[in-house]
Symmetry: C2
C-alpha cells in the first residue's frame, strides 16, 4: 500500500462520539418511532458528505447516502443497521446498557458491536477520505436499516422499490463478525433463520394451584413434554424432515475444517462450561458452521406464585444451512408439535414472518480475494481464515435476488463480544484495525490487481 489515511482522533475521542450513538436506545422490537428516528438521524448527519438522509418507509426508516463521483470506478453498496437487540434482564448488566462504558481494553453497551461500532468505523473511514483526499476511491452507496434485529420485515419491499437506485457491483456488509479475536477471518456463508412460538393454553385464567390443583391439566407440563421431544438424547433435532435438503458434509470440507486451529477445551472454558454438546457425529466446528440448529430461546409462563398458569410459551429459533427451505422447516416443526398427544390443553404453533434462507459467497470470489489482501495488510504475518457466520444476515439473500450482487461480510465485531446478550462489548483495538482495513479494501477494489470487475447483473424479472 502506498496511500495511508491519517486517523487523527484519539481513541478517547472516537469513543466519546460513539457514546452518543449507543445512548440512543434503538431497540427495534419495542422502541418508540421517535427513538428509532433519532438513531437514523444520527447516522444521516454523519453521512452529510454523501447527502445522508432518513427515508421514511414502512416500519422504522432507512438511512441512505450516495457518493458517486468516481466515474469509471466500481460501485459498492455499504450495508449495516442502526437498530439493536432488547437489553434482556437489566440486572445482568454490569453497567447500564445504553451508557457506553470503557472497561480496560473494551467498551461495553447495547449495540456497540452489533452493529453500531462496526458502522461507525465505516463512517470515519469515509470522512477521512473526503477530508484528506477530497474523494472516495470508488463510488459508494450507503443503506442502513432499522429492523435487522427483528428479521427485516420491511427491508425486502424497500430494496425492491429502490433496486435501480441501489444497484452496485458488490455489497459490503458492516454487519457480521469475525469469528474470534485471535486471527483475522472472512465469512463465506451465513446461516438462515426461522423463528416461531409454541403456545400451550389451558383455562381462561391462571388458577390458584391449591383451589384447582389436581383437576386440570397444567399447560407447562404439556409444553415441557413438547419441548423435551424436539431433540433426541444425542443432540439431533428429532423433527421428521428438519434436515431435508442438506447435502452431506464432504470429506474435503471436513478436512478444511479440521485444519482450522480450534481448541475445544479453551472454547469450553471461555464459556464457563464443563462440557460442550451438540449433534452426534460432528466436531464442534462442523456443528457450528455446517449444521442447522433448533434452539429454545426463551420460556414464558406464570411466575413464582402459586398458580396453574393459563398459558405457557416457548420461543424457538432455527439456524438453517444451505439446502434447507425456511417454509419447509416451519411446516416440519408444526407437524411434529401438533402430532404430540396432549390432554386437557390446546397447542398452537405460531411462526413469525420473514424466514431467511442460508447464504453463501464462493471462496474464490474477487471480493474475498481483495478482502483477504486488506486483512493481511492490517494483520501482517497472520493467515486469514475463511469461516462461516453462525448468525443470520437477512439482507444478503435479498441483495443477491434483487440487485444481483454478492455480499462481502466485512465487520470488525468478534463473535465472543456478547452479541444479543447482556454486557455486549467491542474491543477498542478493532476501531483502528477496522478503519485501516476498510481503507485498504476500498483502495484495492478501486484499482490495481484486485480491482473489482463490474458484475454482470443477473437481476431476475420483478
Amino acid at each position: 500500500m502506498v496511500d495511508m489515511l491519517s486517523f487523527n482522533s484519539t481513541d478517547a475521542e472516537y469513543i466519546e462520539e460513539l457514546t452518543g450513538y449507543v445512548a440512543i436506545p434503538s431497540v427495534s422490537r419495542d422502541a418508540t418511532a421517535e427513538t428509532m428516528r433519532s438513531a437514523a438521524e444520527w447516522l444521516a448527519a454523519q453521512l452529510a458528505f454523501a447527502d445522508g438522509r432518513v427515508v421514511a418507509t414502512e416500519g422504522h426508516p432507512v438511512v441512505r447516502a450516495d457518493w458517486l463521483h468516481a466515474p469509471g470506478a466500481p460501485t459498492v453498496l455499504v450495508y449495516g443497521h442502526y437498530d439493536v437487540q432488547p437489553t434482556g434482564d437489566l440486572a445482568e448488566w454490569k453497567t447500564p446498557p445504553f451508557e457506553l462504558t470503557l472497561d480496560g481494553d473494551v467498551i461495553r453497551g447495547r449495540g456497540v458491536t452489533d452493529d453500531k461500532g462496526p458502522v461507525f468505523i465505516v463512517l470515519k473511514v469515509a470522512q477521512a477520505f473526503i477530508e484528506q483526499e477530497g474523494a472516495l476511491p470508488l463510488n459508494i452507496k450507503f443503506v442502513f436499516e432499522g429492523e435487522e434485529e427483528i428479521g427485516s420485515p420491511n427491508f425486502p419491499a424497500f430494496l425492491r422499490e429502490h433496486a435501480d437506485e441501489l444497484s452496485a457491483d458488490l455489497v459490503i456488509s458492516a454487519d457480521g463478525a469475525m469469528w474470534r479475536p485471535s486471527e483475522p477471518s472472512l465469512s463465506i456463508a451465513s446461516k438462515g433463520l426461522v423463528t416461531l412460538d409454541i403456545e400451550v393454553t389451558g383455562a381462561d385464567d391462571d388458577l390458584h394451584s391449591g383451589r384447582f390443583g389436581g383437576t386440570v391439566a397444567n399447560p407447562v407440563h404439556a409444553l415441557s413434554t413438547i419441548l423435551a421431544g424436539l431433540h433426541s438424547a444425542d443432540g439431533r433435532v428429532a423433527v421428521d424432515g428438519f434436515y431435508d435438503g442438506i447435502p452431506s458434509l464432504s470429506e474435503e470440507r471436513r478436512a478444511e475444517i479440521a485444519a482450522v486451529p480450534f481448541d475445544d477445551d479453551r472454547y469450553r472454558a471461555e464459556l464457563g462450561l464443563d462440557e460442550l454438546f451438540g449433534e452426534a457425529g460432528y466436531s464442534t466446528l462442523e456443528r457450528l458452521w455446517e449444521r442447522p440448529t433448533l434452539e429454545i430461546n426463551g420460556l414464558k409462563s406464570g411466575g413464582k406464585y402459586t398458580v396453574i398458569p393459563h398459558s405457557a410459551t416457548g420461543h424457538i429459533s432455527c439456524r438453517l444451512v444451505p439446502g434447507q427451505r425456511p417454509e419447509r422447516v416451519i411446516q416440519a416443526i408444526t407437524d411434529h408439535v401438533l402430532a404430540q398427544k396432549v390432554t386437557g390443553v390446546r397447542v398452537a404453533v405460531r411462526p413469525d414472518k420473514a424466514g431467511v434462507p442460508a447464504y453463501t459467497i464462493p471462496a474464490d470470489h474477487p471480493a474475498i480475494r481483495a478482502a483477504t489482501a486488506a486483512l493481511e495488510d492490517v494483520y501482517p504475518g497472520q493467515d486469514v481464515l475463511l469461516a462461516v457466520i453462525g448468525g443470520t444476515l437477512p439482507a444478503t439473500a435479498l441483495f443477491e435476488e434483487v440487485l444481483g450482487a454478492k455480499t462481502l461480510f466485512f465487520s470488525f465485531s468478534t463473535a465472543d463480544e456478547k452479541l444479543h446478550a447482556p454486557n455486549e462489548f467491542l474491543r477498542i483495538s478493532r476501531l483502528r484495525e477496522g478503519m485501516r482495513a476498510w481503507e485498504q479494501l476500498w483502495r484495492l477494489l478501486a484499482d490495481g490487481p484486485h480491482r473489482l470487475a463490474p458484475v454482470i447483473k443477473s437481476r431476475p424479472e420483478r
Copy 2:
C-alpha cells in the same frame, strides 16, 4: 336467633370504604415497607374499639387488637392477613388491580377476596356489636399478618413470642374460602405446601443462538426434560416417595365425596376447558380434596430473542395432604431431579423455606357444629357441605402447635373468585351474608347449646 344487628350502611358505602383498603398495594412479595405499614395502619384504625395497633416485628408488621370485656365467656382469636399476591401481567386485568371496580354483582381488585374483603366483614360485625350493644358477645383477640402470601416466614416466631397474649379457645380464620358459590360450606382441612425452584444453568452468559448454536447444551432443553419427567402420562407424580405416608382413601370417604353434588361438566365449562385432567384412579373431587399435587407455577428463561439462555428456571409448588411431610417431599423431588442425566449443564434444586404440612379439624368439632348452625341461619333450607380447602393456610398448623387451639375457617370468599390470578373479585352479596353469619357464629359460640367449651391447652414445651 333472637338478637339481630342492623348493618346500617348501604352496599355502596361498604364498597367505598373497602375501595380505600384495596387501593393500598400491599403486595408482600415486593411492596415497600411504607406501603405495607400503610395497609396495617388502615386495619389498626378500624380496630380502634379494641385498642387496634401495628406491632413492628421481623418482616412486615402484625396488626393486633383485643376486646376482653366478657368475663366468663369463651375467647376466640380472629386471624386474617392484609397482604396480597402480585398482580401478574397487568395486561390481563380488565381494570387496574388496585382500583376496586364495581362490575354487576361483583367487585374486582387485587386482594378483595383474599383476604381484604373477608377481613372487612369481621371489622364491620365487631363495630356493629360495639355500636348497637356496647359489647361483643365473647372475648375476641385479633391478629392480622402481612406475609401470608409469601409463606408467613416471620409469623411463627411472632406467635411463639406472643403465645400467652394470644391464647384462645378457638382460632377463627377470615382467610380461606367457600369452595363454590351455590351452597354454603365449611372446610375441615386445608392442604400443605412446599415450593422450590429447579434451575438449570449453562454458559456464563446468554449466547447468540447463531454464533454459538450447535456447540453447547441449551439449559431450556434440559429443564424441559426434567419438568416433563415429573409426571407420568396418567397424571401421577412420577417422583419416588412423593406419595409416602398418605393413607389410602377409605370407601367411606369416597362415598361421602360421591354424595356431594358436583357437575364435572359444568366445572370444566366454567374454566373454559375442553376436558379435565388429573391423577388416574380418582374422581375430580377426590383429586381436589384428597390427593396431593405437584404443579409448575411458572417458567423463567431468556425471551423472544435469538439467544441460547444461560439459565432456565421452573417454579414448582406441591400441595400436600395429611400424612406427607414437607421436608420428605422436598427431598424426594430433589433426589429425583438430580438423578436425571443431563449433559453440558448444571442442575440445582432450591427449596424455599417455610414448608407447611396439611391441616385438619374433625367434622364433629364444636366449632364446626356452631358454624354449621350459623350458616344454616343465613342460608335457610340449604345443606352445609363439609369441604376441603385446596389452598394452604400456613398459620393453622402453627396455631395448633403453639396455642393448642384448632382453627375454624370462616371466610366469605369463594374459590372461583380468581384468587392469586388477574381479575380477582368478590361477590357483593357475600358482604351481608358474611356479616350476618359472623354475628350468629359469635352469638352461638358465646351462649346456648353451641357454647364453646374452654379447650384444654395441649401446648407443647417451648
